[in-house]
Symmetry: C2
């Protein structure tokens, strides 16, 4: 399943992970290629599914979302039975910006983004705890984001 990447591909991915909106002409310059083959490689990486998309990163605090909470969720009974229903419910919650099914102390680990503690309480009581198969919830309030969405290490 992993795709073979050469050195230039890796350079392209490194640049695009940091500057997703850079013009192809400048990308080409930075990776030491002319524009045409550079664009061809980018398209090939997109079509191979290596690059899955592009997106703008926002500063949460500036759009009134000052609180991030990392939430561990345990579910009732055997995970396999409930997994799909819970996953769909979590996926539909806009406050949940990421959700992983894990093996460890909890079943799911969520990243929840809300304006403040009052909103988090509302989310917890009104939404998350309303799910029928939730057994236990551990809330880890984020005090400081040390690092977020850092570039993936490319060899």
């Amino acid at each position: 399943m992993p795709i073979r990447l050469d050195d230039i591909d890796r350079r392209i991915l490194r640049v695009l992970q940091a500057e997703g909106r850079i013009p192809n002409s400048e990308l080409a310059e930075r990776v030491g290629l002319s524009a045409t083959p550079c664009l061809r490689r980018v398209r090939a990486l997109e079509e191979a599914g290596v690059i899955t998309g592009y997106r703008a990163d926002l500063d949460r605090t500036r759009i009134g979302l000052g609180l991030t909470v990392l939430v561990g969720v345990k579910v009732d009974g055997h995970r396999d039975e409930n997994a799909r229903a819970i996953q769909e419910a979590l996926q539909a919650m806009p406050e949940v910006v990421s959700c992983h099914l894990v093996s460890g102390e909890t079943d799911f680990l969520l990243q929840v983004v809300v304006p403040d503690l009052a909103a988090y309480e509302r989310f917890l009581l009104g939404t998350l705890l309303k799910l029928p198969m939730v057994k236990d919830i551990r809330s880890n309030i984020v005090i400081r984001t040390v690092k977020e969405n850092a570039p993936l290490p490319l060899g």
Copy 2:
């Protein structure tokens, strides 16, 4: 600290969160503006720090990073004393793609990306446990990523 956003700003942010490389002309069309004011708004959002950057999303499995682990780290003594040293160490580790200082069961929660379990073992024993002030580590292996980096809810 939060910036005032009107309806069109929110529409712009919604589009750019999903399609960060969309041409301005098309963005303008989608939000119901002509190109010039649309670009002005995007620039203003960038300068106000609402948009902090743009980036390509990669498929980890296709670049040979098949394993994600969410790691809880407890540190010795009072957090404040060690916090800076640990944070700097974690920030320098390329396998650590995100790192949050939290209040809850653990002190730090990390997202670690590696090729496989063998590489994770190497990271754990050779890097993370080498930090002098680490007291306890809980590894939550990601079985399935249900949702990741979903768009932030914009009112």
